[in-house]
Amino acid sequence: MRKFSIVLLAILFCLLLVSCSNQDNAEIAKEEIVYASSKDIRDINPHLYSGEMAAQNMVFESLVINTEDEVEPWLAESWEISDDGMEYIFHLREDVTFTDGEKFNAEAVKQNMDAILDNEERHAWLDLVNLIEENIVVDEYTYKLVLKHPYYPTLTELGLTRPFRFLSPNDFVDATTRDGVDGYSGTGPWILTEHNENQEAVFTANVEYWGEQPEVDNVRWKVMPDHQTILLALEKGEIDLIFGSDGDMIDLDSFSALEEQGKYITEMSEPIASRAILLNSNRPITKNVDVREALQYAIDKQSIADGVLNGTESVAPTLLSSTAPYSDLGLEAREYNPDKASELLDEAGWKLDDSGYRYKDEEKLELSLYYNSDNAQEKTISEYIQHDLREIGVDLHITGEQKQAFLDRQKSGEFDLQYSLSWGTPYDPQSYLSSWRIPAHGDYQAQIGLDRKVWLDETITDLMIENDEAEREAMYDEVLSYIHDESVYIPLVYSRTKAVHRPELQGVTFNVSQYEIPFEKMYFEAE
């Protein structure tokens, strides 16, 4: 018995020690933002795609940046574009060095660009990479990019989180970056100082930073694969911030619960991307445009926005938000109207019978919808849609699939309906539309059945290299109107990036891209 008491006392003492050390942690945390992510930062080589974008964005910078209004200067102070839109001359800042002491100049820019071009096939999704004719060092701080064709989104794409960001050439392996790099010396406000794979990474403020210094000393990126654990860690005060889009960091129910508790601050960005349902024009039933149009009227989007998304996202009247470039076209919104949907289906020959389902030539109006089973939100939305379609006599089968199987299906086109998410700003509309031309994308597969698919793809190709603004605007109008009229997409809602943080943490804002986190603007309120 005495032994037992001693053991018990020892355990209690140890627990006491542990709890004390925890309190110590809480005090130093003021200099450090602890951010929880379900994913490790992995390899943050800025020219590849396997690292977390938010981490890449902390360390590496681009010539220009995308803001809400326009593309603004960053590592390039200013630029000139030739009249034919084929030559871009950038005047670089002269006060920038990489964190390994290497000077940032036109030579470094060229070396980075060459490394990116050396791995062209990896960047096939990005038109700009394929359009670069040559890139030239004009003088130490002047750099020239020559294109094969004029390409209007050049500046936007140069400002993306990857791949056009700059790594110190000292970190290159054999003058390239395609097979890995030796280090991560960037020019950005943060330096990656510690990385314990699958556990945590520490970013320290770059004291030599050319721009505005980050407000805190460190960002600690903790990896917590389970969402519930992240919430409990927030409640305990072990982490300061949860940040993410599309339910990958925090689901909407928890977001609303935290909001109601009032113990934390919740923030939401402006609408960023579009959630939609693809209607496959290359399938027996949905190839009929009347059927596709009927489905547009059959879904009660407001209920989805309120019921599933807790009112955090607004109903999407058109595929792209009218705030996206070239997308304010005054297209007619199709509001929830089951009577009209039924009418259209009747006209298309699908008649309701006693069973409550529609038939045409003894064939039942049966459709299939696929979603990514890792995403609980998509499942609930699919169930809402199933219910709405049942109301007008359509039998919808919904199937959740693992991500890779879901992507396989996107590529094979074996779906009537499929869940789809646009790329979000600053990728919308140009990169998103550009991806419609690639057969591996569900968009392409869903559009194959359209009479004018060939024209559609050609027009998208042409509008990217159209140098005349008015002409380009007209082409966008044509493309987006055609897609709207053909009802290939049922727009649902516009998604937003969400953040939850402790009240002491201030300055939590959003970048244009949902994949970046502006840690450098965050700070703790002085007590």
Binding site: R122, G180, Q402, L407
Partner: protein, 309 residues
């Protein structure tokens, strides 16, 4: 004895071949094309040319048997290929993650032994009393509750309400307590019941009666009963070692524990075939090895077992 061990060792060889074949074939049955997956997880658009190039790179253009043989021969040398996700050798990933899992399994094992032994002794002493029933009821509940839920409950209670332990991660030695307990809870019930029932049974054996008649102390009698009841429990415990190591998947995810369980879950979600294959194969080898070891130990303890082979 030597012959027995050699015989058992030889019988393992066809088993291992079978397992490796199964691990390989299961992955190949999956609908997704590994070449496409390898491209996609790196955000490369799987165009036809890119897929063809990747198929060649991964050796997928060769015949099934050829691929299997290549995989087996390199696996024996410890080369399980490179991960699709980060292109690092799979074996490095596993070696890096293994110590964390072993530590977790060890701590769980100790908790299992300590709690099972003490609980079953108490249950035997107070057989059929309210204490016995309460303990059995509690361990039963502990086992019946899903590990995922109980992990979160423990986390909520001990680290948030009482603020005694960190919620997750592997930051201090205290971090191992909650995942260790969560993992152990699922096993404790089995051993408490096993050991308690054996002890209760042994209580009515003749040797106990004689001991009582000789006027031996209660404590010594209990010790003898305990020793005599251990054999099946030890066998079962031996087999639970690989189960503990392979069973950390959920616990490691909840508690952000950087072990092989988490590695395998991430691999499964990303269809990282080389990692899944290696994990399945190594776990199977672990089970076979532990089984073999337990058999040999049992045979050493009990000569009757040797004849059955």
């Amino acid at each position: 004895m030597k012959r027995y061990i050699i015989k058992r060792l030889l019988s393992v060889i066809p088993l291992l071949i079978g397992i490796s074949f199964l691990a390989f074939i299961l992955i190949n049955l999956s609908e997704s094309d590994p070449a496409e997956v390898a491209l996609r997880v790196n955000e490369i658009t799987p165009t036809d040319e890119a897929v063809a190039q990747m198929r060649e790179e991964l050796g997928l253009d060769k015949s099934f048997i050829e691929r299997y043989l290549t995989w087996v021969t390199s696996s024996i040398k410890g080369d399980f290929g490179n991960s699709f996700i980060n292109n690092k050798p799979v074996i490095n990933e596993i070696v890096q993650a293994l110590p964390a899992t072993l530590l977790l399994a060890l701590v769980s094992f100790i908790i299992i032994v300590v709690i099972s032994v003490s609980a079953s002794i108490i249950c035997t002493i107070f057989e059929e009393s309210w204490i016995d029933r309460t303990i059995r009821g509690l361990v039963f509940i502990g086992e019946a509750m899903p590990g995922y839920w109980i992990g979160l409950l423990l986390m909520w209670f001990f680290s948030i309400k009482l603020n005694l332990l960190p919620t997750s991660g592997m930051t201090s030695w205290a971090s191992v307590i909650l995942p260790g307990v969560t993992l152990a809870l699922a096993y404790i019930s089995t051993y408490v019941r096993l050991l308690r029932n054996n002890m209760v049974q042994n209580k009515s054996e003749n040797f106990v009666l004689y001991a009582k008649a000789r006027g031996m102390k209660k404590r010594i009698i209990l010790k003898r009963i305990f020793k005599n009841s251990l054999q099946t429990t030890i066998t079962a415990l031996g087999m639970s070692i690989p189960k503990l190591i392979a069973g950390t998947v959920i616990v490691e995810n909840i508690f952000a524990w950087p072990g092989i369980g988490r590695l395998s879950v991430a691999a499964i979600f990303n269809y990282d075939y080389p990692v899944i294959q290696a994990y399945v194969f190594l776990m199977a080898v672990l089970f076979v090895a532990c089984n073999l070891l337990v058999d040999i130990v049992t045979a050493m303890l009990d000569p009757r077992m040797r004849k059955e082979v």
